[in-house]
Subunit: 152 residues, 2 copies
DNA sequence: TGTAATTCCGACAGAAACGGTCGTATACTG
DNA sequence: CAGTATACGACCGTTTCTGTCGGAATTACA
C-alpha cells in the first residue's frame, strides 16, 4: 500500500533530531537510536545510506557520528525517501524485474504518472526543517481540489 | 514503499474501463480481464470487493457483470484504494498489530499525519472520470510548493 | 427443467518486500 | 595500543502481496 517504510520513517526522525541539535558537531547512531526507541544497528545502516547519498556527513572514531551535510531547510523528505527506499514510483510499471507487463496496453499509466509527480512534488516541498517546526494543524484538505487542478 | 498495490491498480483500470463503456449495461470480470492482461480470477475478487464497498453494482447470471454504482465523476481514486487496500496511512502508527511502538515519544508523527492528509486529499480529488480523459501533461510540480504551503 | 454464464467466498501457496540482527572490517582519537 | 565509532555485507524470520483453486449461489434462457 501507499505506506512509507519504517526505514524511511526512522531516517526522517533521525534527520530531524540532527537538525534540532546543531550545537553538537556530531551525534552517533546510538545517540539517536536511544533518544527514540529505534534499533541501533538498523538505524546505523540507514544513516550510512544517507551518508552515501550525500545527505549526511559522517566521522568515525571517538566523538564521531553524523551531522547534516546541508542545512535542514534544503533537505527534502523526498530526498530522504529516495535515498532509503530507492526510486519513487507509486505504480509498478518501473521496468526491471517484478515490473508490470501491461505497460503496453495499459491506459491509466499516463494519468497515474501525473499523480506520481504530484505526490513527489508534495514530498519535495517538505523539508527537514518543516518537520522540526510544529505549526498548528490548520484547515488543509479543503484546498486539495484546487491544488490538484493545477497539476493534473 | 509509497507504492500502490497492483490490486488497486487493477481496480482503477477496471473502473475506468467500465466508465468508458456506458452503453453496455454490465461487463463481466472476464471481459475486463481480457481487455487488458489482468488475471481473471484476481480481478474478479477485486470487483467483488468494490461491489461490497458500494462502488459497483453487480448482477449474477448470464449477461451479468458489473457496472458503476455512481457516475464516474463522483468516484474518487481514494475510495477505490480505500476499498481494496484498506485504510490509508503512509505511516505505520495506525495502532493495532504490527503497528509502531514509538508513538509515544515520536516527534514526527504529527507532521507526517499532515502529509498523510495532503496526499489523501490529492487522491480524493481524482475521479475515475479524470483517469478516462487524457489531457496534456502540463507544467505541474512547479506549483507544489505553494500547494503544500496551504496544507502544511 | 436443465444448462451455461457469472458472481460470490474462503483457503491456500509462492514470491517478494520488510524489519531486524550479526559478524567483521575499517577508521579515528587519545 | 585500546576504545569508540562508522562501514559493509550476509543472513533470517515475518508480513504483505499476488495469484490460484475449488466450490457454492444466482440468473438467464432454451
Ligand atoms: S502499466 Fe498500468 S497496470 Fe502496469 S503498473 Fe503501470 S499503471 Fe499499473
Ligand atoms: S509513530 Fe513515529 S515512528 Fe512510529 S510510525 Fe508513526 S511516525 Fe513513524
Amino acid at each position: 500500500m501507499l505506506k512509507l517504510t519504517k526505514k524511511a520513517d526512522y531516517g526522517l526522525m533521525a534527520l530531524k533530531f540532527l537538525a534540532e541539535h546543531p550545537e553538537r558537531s556530531a551525534l552517533s547512531a546510538k545517540d539517536v537510536a536511544d533518544a527514540y526507541g529505534i534499533p541501533a544497528q538498523l538505524l546505523a545502516k540507514i544513516l550510512q545510506q544517507l551518508t552515501r547519498s550525500g545527505l549526511l556527513r559522517s566521522h568515525a572514531g571517538m566523538n564521531g557520528g553524523y551531522a547534516l551535510a546541508r542545512e535542514a531547510r534544503s533537505i527534502s523528505a523526498y530526498e530522504v525517501i529516495l535515498s532509503i527506499d530507492g526510486p519513487f514510483f507509486i505504480t509498478s510499471c518501473t521496468k526491471g524485474k517484478t515490473g508490470c507487463e501491461l505497460t503496453t496496453n495499459c491506459t491509466i499509466k499516463e494519468p497515474l504518472a501525473r499523480v506520481n509527480e504530484t505526490i513527489a512534488g508534495v514530498l519535495k516541498s517538505i523539508s527537514i526543517q518543516d518537520l522540526a517546526e510544529h505549526e498548528q494543524p490548520a484547515a488543509r484538505e479543503r484546498n486539495a481540489r484546487e491544488l490538484v487542478a493545477l497539476t493534473l
